[in-house]
């Protein structure tokens, strides 16, 4: 079974803008799922509200398109009702970081056997580019026209602190690494969290002098710092510049998890 069999070809082409990274991320997740060899009938994709959360609509499996920020709450119910199902959650930065923040940290704490793919495009893309809790300091959006004056969340460190079993961050440019990370996350028992930084040329890029898709892809490529390199930089006392972000695997552990079928 290949990636193509998981798509609903009658719904394609999707409604995402030209150059949006969400399509690449769906490719990677479906590649990982079909590599593992899960059954379409035993996999459920769940999403909240937002651009990223339209993804399950293009996938053949059963899916739930839930209320804003409550994707993890719905997924917990599905998993505990039937622990044999494999559950993947698509969610966005505004969905998970802002309105669903408490669901997220408590799902990490309980360590429920879910896989969360958080597509971080730095803004609320669907509603017109408002600033989200993950908008980097000094970057412009509709609601922060002079540059964001608040510091952003770091969802990966939050997930590590709250006790998730697998945490990693990649970008929509690093497709091979992202596929491997999603595969590792899907196979990990317990809560696995993968943050994917994605380009949004329509709402984020054009307000932050990254007008072309290629500019934003190069931005992701040049500013990603591997986790190992970041550790070495910390030992030397160096700091990341304001544009740089850490990518790689943050943690992989085996705390006792909940909702795993015995």
């Amino acid at each position: 079974m290949t990636r193509d069999d998981w798509y609903r070809h009658d719904r394609l082409p999707h409604i995402y803008c030209s150059g949006c990274g969400n399509g690449s991320i769906i490719n990677c997740v479906l590649e990982a799922v079909s590599d593992i060899g899960w059954n379409i009938d035993e996999t459920v994709f769940i999403s909240g509200i937002g651009c990223s959360s339209r993804a399950p609509g293009y996938i053949q499996t059963d899916s739930l398109h839930t209320t804003h920020g409550r994707a993890i709450a719905f997924a917990t119910g599905v998993k505990l009702a039937n622990p044999d199902l494999h559950i993947v959650i698509f969610t966005g930065d505004g969905d998970l970081g802002a309105i669903g923040g408490n669901h997220f940290i408590h799902a990490c704490r309980r360590n429920i056997d879910l896989t969360v793919i958080c597509i971080n495009n730095y803004i609320y893309g669907m509603t017109g580019g408002q600033g989200s809790p993950l908008t980097p300091y000094g970057k412009k959006s509709t609601t922060t026209p002079y540059g964001a004056c608040e510091m952003p969340f770091d969802l990966c460190n939050l997930a590590v602190a709250a006790g998730a079993n697998y945490v990693s961050r990649w970008t929509s440019y690093h497709v091979t690494e992202l596929t491997k990370a999603v595969t590792a996350g899907l196979l990990t028992e317990g809560f696995s969290f993968i943050e994917v930084i994605s380009q949004c040329p329509t709402s984020y890029g054009r307000r932050n002098s990254l007008r072309e898709v290629s500019d934003q892809i190069l931005y992701l490529k040049n500013n990603a710092v591997l986790h190992q390199r970041w550790k070495r930089m910390q030992e030397k006392g160096e700091d990341l510049s304001s544009d740089q972000f850490v990518v790689g695997e943050f943690i992989r552990q085996s705390r006792p998890s909940m909702g795993v079928s015995r």
Binding site: L12, S24, N27, V175
Partner: protein
């Protein structure tokens, strides 16, 4: 042999494929199609690693263009082997 194929009904002309191919097979298109989209054109696609070697290795090779294409427009279709080209040497 396999052949690279761009589905024009899905491509939105974002040109990400032109950035990632290690052989620079995809080049930005210059004429709009019926939907007004500049679909990339293929420059000597027989150089593609997956086209040449996928049957030899029995698995998918490279495949970054197909994976990163946000619109699921790039795929491979089975094709006849490329015929050897006659090279004319001019003295």
């Amino acid at each position: 042999m396999m052949k690279l194929f761009i589905d024009e009904t899905r491509c939105k002309g974002c040109n990400i494929c032109t950035m990632v191919c290690p052989y620079s097979i995809f080049t930005p298109g210059d004429t709009p199609n019926r939907r007004g989209i500049y679909v990339p054109v293929l420059d000597r696609p027989e150089r593609c690693t997956n086209c040449r070697l996928t049957y030899l290795y029995g698995r998918q090779l490279c495949g970054v263009c197909s994976m990163i294409c946000p619109d699921q427009a790039i795929s491979w279709i089975a094709d006849e082997p490329y015929s050897a080209r006659c090279v004319v040497i001019e003295y």
